[in-house]
């Protein structure tokens, strides 16, 4: 376990600017906040989704709904992961039918989490479109998936790990690259 950071890739200021930029991009692409809902993937995606929602509301003046999604039930690799104890609660208490649903995650890597998240969303309804916003895209896709909104493209080697820390859970806003198991 543990994580040895080799370099800090993003500081708190950078992350704040990224959240602001992606908020504008979301509004531009979807022509305003009407019909937009954000769904964060547990754990850090949820906090990023809330930040985006807050920023969008500051810009447009309308509140945006934020859901929380745990994709454990939909993963294709449960056999190699922890059991029931690792599962968080999914909370999408609004209608996603015909909405523009934006999935928010911290790191886009193999694409398997995103695939699982899309499957999960389909069980809640039939969105008009699903888009994907990520803070970091580190490459190495194993599925035909790409993000619509990317905070930072971060070319990595397969044995490197990316660690995203957010104030809400980790007490600090950073993105670091390094080696270890305690990151993706």
């Amino acid at each position: 376990m543990g994580f040895n950071a080799r370099a800090k890739v993003l500081e708190a200021d950078d992350i704040a600017r990224i959240v602001k930029r992606i908020s504008h991009e979301i509004l531009e692409r979807n022509k305003g906040a009407g019909g937009i809902t954000l769904v964060g993937i547990r754990t850090r995606g949820v906090f990023l989704a809330r930040r985006l929602a807050r920023t969008i509301e500051e810009i447009e003046g309308n509140p945006v709904e934020v859901g929380e999604l745990d994709v454990s039930f939909y993963r294709d690799d449960i056999a190699t992961r922890g059991g029931a104890a690792a599962i968080g609660i999914t909370n999408i208490d609004f209608d996603i039918n015909d909405k523009q649903v934006i999935i928010v995650d911290d790191v886009l890597y193999t694409g398997r989490t995103t695939r699982a998240a899309m499957d999960a969303l389909m069980d809640f309804g039939r969105p008009h479109v699903i888009q994907l916003a990520v803070l970091v895209d580190r490459g190495h896709r194993e599925l035909p998936i790409r993000a619509d909104y990317v905070g930072k493209n971060l070319p990595t080697a397969g044995d490197e790990k990316v660690k995203v820390s957010l104030v809400e859970v980790d007490g600090v806003d950073t993105v670091e690259i390094g080696e270890g198991n305690d990151a993706r």
Partner: protein
């Protein structure tokens, strides 16, 4: 990775679990409860796994609860009932178990009149075994769902006072609950005539009283056991009328209480025996809550046992 599987291949008795295991099941059951509230009540978590319900004793709710839990996780479920099976032709449990598992089954959920049969089955078959009640021994998922219900309603378990009323000696529900409540730091009082208590019951870490009224003023949770009608004619059982007068939650007792405890019952209730019909109506939401909790807890158990890596 935060939170690993409990690491058990089987669930045979509460005594095999420690407090942390129990709490993990209760925590994860909350996530599974959410699945049952969705428009599409199904997730693909156990797709491709096969579970057999091997029920050698009459049971509707436990069997259905396990079946619903498995189906919501997308596992395939087969039901095996003795009346329609080779067991009634005299096939042994060992041969039946081996036959079932030879079909490529991942888990066997077993209900059996003989205490210890689930343990024996683990020696004979390669699949996971989940005890759904064995004789007068244990009924572990019932205790987990009861603890889940108590925690959801009262916010915690440690330090709570739980009174269990009824035929303790014959009750696997009572046994599993006593062990589980002790492990999570709740206090347990048993309310029953001496003839319906096991020998040396105090060794189980409980207090005992013959007075329901004493228990009612003491407890936060009143757990009424079902009176098994087939036992009423045994010599150590009081008459039904006498039982109701002394150990039944009658309307008079209930109305007299200023501070009402959480009333629970594993079902099915004998209205007018262990609980008055009017009281039963009043506390029904808790008892149906236990049924919903049963599905969530069994999903958590199946997922933990079948979802984690094993080899």
């Amino acid at each position: 990775m935060p939170g690993k599987s409990n690491g058990h291949k089987h669930l045979l008795s509460i005594t095999d679990l420690d407090e942390a295991d129990i709490m993990k099941y209760l925590d994860s059951a909350r996530s599974f409860a959410e699945v049952s509230s969705r428009p599409v009540k199904k997730v693909p978590a156990l797709r491709g796994r096969t579970i057999v319900n091997l029920f050698m004793e009459a049971s509707t709710r436990t069997r259905m609860s396990f079946e619903v839990a498995a189906k919501r996780l997308s596992a395939d479920v087969m039901n095996f009932q003795t009346s329609t099976s080779s067991l009634s032709k005299g096939e042994s449990l060992k041969d039946t178990g081996k036959t079932i598992v030879a079909m490529g089954v991942d888990a066997v959920v077993i209900r059996c009149a003989s205490a210890g049969a689930p343990h024996l089955l683990t020696d004979w078959v390669d699949a996971s075994v989940i005890n759904a009640g064995d004789g007068m021994h244990e009924h572990p998922t019932q205790a987990l769902l009861d603890l889940f219900t108590i925690r959801e309603r009262l916010g915690g378990l440690r330090g709570l006072k739980v009174a269990i009323v009824g035929d303790i000696d014959h009750s696997r529900v009572a046994r599993s609950n006593i062990h589980a409540l002790n492990k999570v730091g709740a206090e347990v009082m048993l309310v029953a005539p001496r003839s319906l208590l096991p020998d040396q019951v105090e060794r189980m870490g409980v207090t005992v009283t013959g007075s329901l009224d004493e228990a009612l003023t003491w407890c936060d949770v009143l757990y009424l056991l079902r009176i098994q009608m087939e036992r009423v004619n045994e010599s150590r059982f009081p008459s039904l009328r006498e039982y109701t007068l002394q150990y039944g939650l009658t309307q008079t007792r209930w109305s007299r209480l200023k501070r009402k405890p959480l009333v629970m019952h594993p079902g099915p209730m004998n209205r007018g025996v262990e609980i008055a019909s009017g009281v039963a109506d009043e506390v029904e939401s808790v008892i149906t809550g236990q049924v919903s909790a049963g599905v969530a807890v069994r999903m958590a158990v199946l997922y933990d046992i079948l979802g984690g890596s094993r080899d």
